[in-house]
């Protein structure tokens, strides 16, 4: 079974926000909800790198673990989805998520957040695949149509790659080989587990 993963290649990402608006477009995501966002480190100085981030569909997903109503579930492709009919908008998933992926339509007081929304890996939700109800609550179900996430498909520089983890890793590996350096993959340790995941970034351990 394919295991869906994201990679954002910081050597390529140019902070063009194509992925962000592709997502908005495909899933009709409202103002204020950013399923995907782009972050630039070392902005304006040599060494600047940008990275596009959304839900990483973690293997041992913290959001899932803390949800009081257990509305998360994982598809066979490893995509972490949730059920908005069940979600109570408590915000716990957003506290737990290392990547800040869960979003809420309102920033309101009294904890009024509305139902959580996050990247679905363009795989919809629990409703019937491709149904209107699914679309209205979760956006498109591209995976069911045999397509990959809109954000990755439209990425202006092919920095953002999505799909079967093995294929993604292979593409990325090829690039790394071409460049000869820079095999760090954004967020994979945290999201998909590695011997280092969840361990402190020990100074000097990474080269």
């Amino acid at each position: 079974m394919a295991r869906m993963k994201f990679v954002c290649d910081s050597e390529r990402c140019i902070e063009c926000n194509g992925c962000v608006t592709a997502c908005k477009n495909e899933n009709e995501v409202p103002w204020g909800v950013n399923r995907r966002r782009v972050v630039t480190l070392n902005d304006g100085v040599p060494g600047e790198k940008s990275i596009s981030v959304a839900c990483m569909h973690c293997s041992d997903a913290p959001c899932m673990a803390v949800c009081p109503v257990q509305c998360f579930y994982r598809t066979e492709e490893g995509v972490v989805l949730h059920d908005k009919d069940v979600c109570i908008g408590c915000g716990y998933c957003s506290y737990a998520c290392p990547f800040g992926a869960p979003q809420f339509p309102s920033q309101g007081t009294f904890g009024m957040r509305g139902k959580m929304d996050k990247c679905t890996f363009c795989a919809g939700g629990p409703e019937a695949n491709g149904s209107q109800a699914e679309f209205e609550k979760y956006g498109r179900n591209r995976l069911a149509e045999g397509k990959l996430p809109a954000c990755a498909e439209m990425c202006s520089t092919k920095a953002l790659i999505a799909g079967d983890g093995d294929v993604v890793a292979e593409i990325f590996r090829t690039r790394v080989v071409q460049r000869g350096k820079g095999a760090e993959v954004w967020g994979w340790g945290t999201a998909y587990g590695s011997k280092q995941a969840g361990n402190p970034p020990a100074n000097g351990v990474t080269k």
Partner: protein
């Protein structure tokens, strides 16, 4: 990538009992979950960015325009292929249309240009199918408020007003601002329209964009366009970006560059700012804005010093380099270079070494070079550098000049220019006759429309100066009347400099017409109370369609022409531009002449010229730029079979017959990049890289153009012996093709009889049969525009060898003394134009002490141009909600400005802008930067009350051009938007 459809997985804990199950279902139905509708409504509250209640509608917003909302998947689904309407990269996109509603946007992986990729703007195209903040119906300004009127009334009143102006003050009293957003057919039709109206007073964005490039480069070697392509950059071994921020302005081009980079291409970025492009560079060079010549000649100094120039190439194909060399060696020694542009010798040498060691190498430039009083000279310096390295006319080399708007290239080639007819035919009588012939009207009839024969051949006022056409003293201008009416037909006001004076000019007008899907910036500026408003002024807003509500061709920066299919029917009451032109023409009395060669089609029950027919007329007239081979059929076949084109070479593997029209695209280059010479039947494949002698002319090869004579100062201007395109029967330089040459060569008889008749007395540009081109190219492998040398010295320009000159408003009076600007010019494009008097006064007044920072401006990836359109798109607007100024931390600290604070920006015009401070290392301490896409605030005040109701963009901010200063290029009237001065204070 293999995908397996997800099984509809229910929540982890499935309901257990049937009772609970039914209860659950009942509940789910009774209490609808927070769907997107609710999301939106919720988020509208407390967002504070002015998301009005009106845009709470949902996914198929467009249905609001025409009623019912069909269920998903229930309707007829069609896929229409279109092209992004924002920048010149020309990314293709598939629009999925269901029951006439644009419901989805799919990437076109087949497109060799973008391989499915999009930047933020392109990925948000579908919002055009909603168009919620657009002008929905014609409006008229009545007592300071915009009121709805009918189209009939609007057309009648506008044309009555125009007629009145023409009768009272002559046709030159109306100024027509066309658009680079128009497709080729519309841009061409507008030039034809203005000609029939009897004027050359028309222009479009290219004036304030790449006019200096077009003039400077064309005068160097032939055509003023990007020589190679984005795709060809994959072949480069080194890329020098100087004055281009492609990562934000041409994001998808980076796809190709980064590919090259991964294969070892060195990337150098030269810019006053550390841009997103600089972040991808191997070497970043910070220069002082406006000092590019110093830097480029600094490199050249090292090249000559070390003998790195391509001597054979220079001998065979370049004129005048020796003189340039002498000047560079004498004037641009490393110390002078460092003094002028701030770059130390070691870094200049490093860049020179890289350029020498890695060939072919390409140079990329854009607004950082063009928008200066010396823009024409800067771009020529770039050309000279590439010539010295022998990089021009080679795959992987060339001058990759990234054009601006989606169709600025096409509008430049065939659109409304004040100094030429379509395809760069000058305003001389011969050109007029050529076009009269194609248009099927009498030359004398056109002439009768003009104020005088002299006005017919006199270039019009430029877009950058229309305000002076209004405000300047009548006796100082070179036409009878001042401008009294202006038609903004797809252009924003906040993109032209000197906003304060523009407001005055707008108030003084008799007539202001805005034809635009988003006319709001102009509308608000006009409606805003002014000091002295002409009591008789009339202001009309007419809703135009976007490019997704019509079809037509669009020329990308690499000269590839793509065909857009119509995606949706015109939204609201909008009409396509060419329909409006026709309707104007009918009322003005030349409707039937305008559309003589076109069939009509019904759109919304009204007549509209068929775009394909307009293109066919372009094909029959625009020989000079090679717009003749691109028939609609060929272009459409290319669009349907994009996948066949190679990404690296753009060439189609063939044979491959299009399923619909049977055209075989085999051997063609994608989009038949112009010049695609001869008739469509000649099957010229288009020219992927210009001046490339390694290819046969019938395979897109070529050489430099013979456009400047055959000899100068006793030196041969034609190519030397042995320098010619592959397979040419003439193996040395030769002049451009005309009937005499053909006869002299003894090839005349290869023409058939009809061709002979048509060609007699003509040259290749005016021969309506295309026969001479056929014989010359196909039979003999020769290039119709001749085979000559490129010019390192452009003797017909004020500075034949590019000279560095300081901007009029600079913060370095010491340098201005050494590198002073030009002398004032009394009449220049019909207007007096100042240089020295302004610069000297500024120095005398010590203006630099009051305004110590260089103010430069440019682009943000999310917004396009003046920005009303993109700031009306919520998907984009959310990403950039504030107009800001980039300030170096050192400067900010000195002024107590912290990141996110408000700041006042003052400029010598007296304007003050209230903007957010972005404290960042992107700029050095001597420079500040502001994006230019904002409008809707005027010196601290929100202009919202002056917008037509419902048509204000979501995000508004100060327009930088409210505050920009005087200054124009000495050749083209390009406005100086990249270097002026300002002061910043904490607000």
């Amino acid at each position: 990538m293999l995908l397996t459809p997800r099984k509809s997985g229910a929540s982890a804990a499935a309901p257990t009992s049937p009772f609970i199950h039914s209860l659950r279902r009942g509940l789910a139905n009774a209490l609808p979950t927070l769907d997107r509708r609710t999301f939106l409504r919720r988020s509208g509250i407390g967002v504070g960015v002015g998301l009005a209640a009106s845009q709470l509608t949902l996914m198929r917003k467009a249905t609001a325009a025409d009623g019912a909302q069909p269920a998903i998947g229930a309707g007829k689904v069609e896929v229409r292929r279109t092209v992004c309407s924002h920048c010149s990269v020309g990314c293709a996109s598939d629009a999925v249309v269901e029951n006439g509603v644009w419901v989805r946007q799919e990437p076109v992986f087949d497109s060799p240009i973008n391989l499915g990729s999009h930047c933020a703007k392109g990925a948000a195209l579908r919002e055009h199918g909603h168009g919620e903040f657009r002008l929905r119906y014609p409006m008229k300004l009545v007592n300071g408020k915009y009121e709805r009127i009918s189209w009939d009334t609007a057309l009648q009143e506008v044309t009555d007003r125009i007629k009145a102006l023409r009768d009272a003050s002559g046709p030159d009293s109306v100024y027509w601002i066309g658009s680079s957003k128009h497709n080729n057919e519309q841009a061409y039709l507008l030039r034809k329209f203005v000609s029939f109206f009897g004027s050359n007073n028309c222009d479009h964005q290219a004036r304030i964009c790449h006019s200096t490039t077009v003039a400077g480069v064309a005068n160097t070697w032939g055509y003023g366009a990007m020589t190679n392509s984005y795709n060809d950059m994959r072949n480069a071994k080194v890329a020098l970006y100087i004055g281009s921020n492609a990562a934000e302005a041409h994001p998808v081009s980076m796809l190709h560059l980064l590919h090259a980079k991964e294969r070892g291409c060195k990337v150098i970025v030269v810019d006053p700012r550390f841009t997103r492009t600089a972040a991808k560079s191997d070497e970043y060079v910070r220069i002082r804005s406006g000092s590019d010549i110093a830097f480029l000649f600094g490199i050249l100094h090292h090249i000559f010093k070390n003998g790195w120039e391509d001597k054979k190439y220079l001998n065979d194909r370049v004129f005048g380099m020796a003189k340039v060399r002498d000047e560079v060696m004498a004037k641009w020694t490393p110390d002078k270079v460092e003094e002028a542009c701030g770059v130390p010798e070691a870094q200049v040498l490093k860049v020179a070494t890289w350029l020498n060691e890695n060939r072919p190498g390409t140079i990329v430039w854009c607004m950082g070079q063009t928008q200066h009083t010396i823009g024409n000279a800067i771009v020529r310096a770039s050309c000279i550098l590439q010539l010295a390295l022998g990089n021009v006319g080679k795959s992987g080399g060339g001058t990759n000049i990234f054009r601006g708007h989606d169709n600025v290239q096409g509008a430049t080639d065939v659109g409304p220019n004040p100094d030429s007819l379509p395809s760069y035919y000058g305003l001389v009588e011969g050109s007029w006759r050529h076009f009269a012939n194609v248009w099927g009207v009498e030359y004398d009839w056109i002439k009768s429309k003009f104020a005088s024969p002299a006005m017919m051949t006199k270039p019009g006022i430029t877009l950058s100066r229309w305000i002076d056409g209004v405000l300047e003293k009548n006796e100082l201008i070179d036409q009878d009347s001042n401008l009294r009416g202006v038609v903004y037909w797809g252009h924003s006001p906040n993109s032209q400099t000197r906003g304060l004076e523009m407001k005055k000019a707008m108030d003084k007008l008799e007539l202001l017409v805005v034809v635009d899907p988003y006319p709001s910036a102009t509308a608000a500026m006009a409606a805003m109370p002014g000091a002295e408003v002409n009591p008789n002024r009339a202001v009309y807003l007419l809703p135009a369609c976007t490019q997704f509500e019509t079809s037509g061709s669009v020329t990308a920066s690499n000269r590839s022409i793509q065909w857009r299919e119509k995606v949706i029917e015109p939204l609201w009451e909008s009409r396509p531009d060419h329909m409006i032109m026709y309707q104007f023409a009918q009322k003005l009395g030349f409707g039937s002449e305008l559309v003589k060669n076109y069939k009509m089609q019904k759109v919304k029950g009204m007549d509209e010229p068929v775009p394909e027919d307009i293109l066919r007329e372009i094909n029959r007239s625009c020989w000079a730029a090679g717009y003749t081979g691109q028939s609609p059929e060929r272009l459409q076949a290319h669009m349907r079979n994009m996948g066949a084109f190679d990404v690296r070479t753009l060439k189609a593997k063939g044979p491959l017959k299009d399923k619909i029209n049977g055209y075989d695209i085999g051997g063609d280059y994608f989009g038949l990049p112009w010049p695609c010479y001869g008739t469509p039947e000649l099957k010229h494949p288009g020219s992927p890289n210009l001046y490339d002698t390694s290819k046969h002319v019938m395979d897109g090869g070529g050489n430099f153009r013979a456009n400047f004579g055959v000899e100068r100062d006793g030196q041969n201007l034609l190519a030397e012996d042995g320098s010619h395109s592959v397979g040419a029967d003439i193996t040395t330089g030769y002049p451009e093709l005309d009937h005499l040459l053909l006869k002299k060569l003894g090839w005349w008889d290869e023409l058939n009889d009809t061709e002979k008749k048509a060609a007699e007395g003509k040259n290749w540009k005016t021969d309506p049969s295309g026969g001479m081109i056929r014989v010359f190219m196909k039979n003999h492998g020769c290039h119709p525009f001749g085979n000559a040398k490129a010019r390192a010295i452009v003797w017909n320009f004020p500075d034949p060898i590019p000279q560095h000159r300081e901007p009029l408003y600079g913060n370095r009076p010491d340098l201005a003394a050494k590198y002073p600007t030009h002398n004032d010019v009394k009449t220049f494009w019909r207007l007096p134009t100042l240089y020295k008097s302004v610069q000297e006064k500024n120095i005398a007044d010590k203006v630099a002490e009051k305004f110590p920072y260089i103010l430069t401006s440019g682009r943000l990836v999310e917004y396009e141009g003046g920005g009303e359109e993109t700031r009306s798109n919520p998907w984009l607007a959310e990403l950039q909600q504030e107009m800001f100024i980039e300030i170096n931390p050192k400067v900010a600290a000195g002024k107590g400005i912290r990141n996110g604070d408000r700041a006042w920006v003052h400029t010598p015009t007296g304007a003050k802008l209230n903007v957010q401070a972005l404290v960042t290392e992107r700029v050095g301490p001597d420079t500040v930067f502001m994006p230019f896409h904002f409008s809707g605030h005027w010196q601290g005040v929100d202009m919202l009350p002056y917008y037509p109701k419902g048509a204000a963009p979501i995000v508004r901010g100060e327009a930088i051009n409210t505050a920009t200063t005087y200054g124009y290029d000495i050749v083209t009237m390009m406005q100086e938007t990249k270097s002026t001065i300002c002061n910043v204070e904490k607000a």
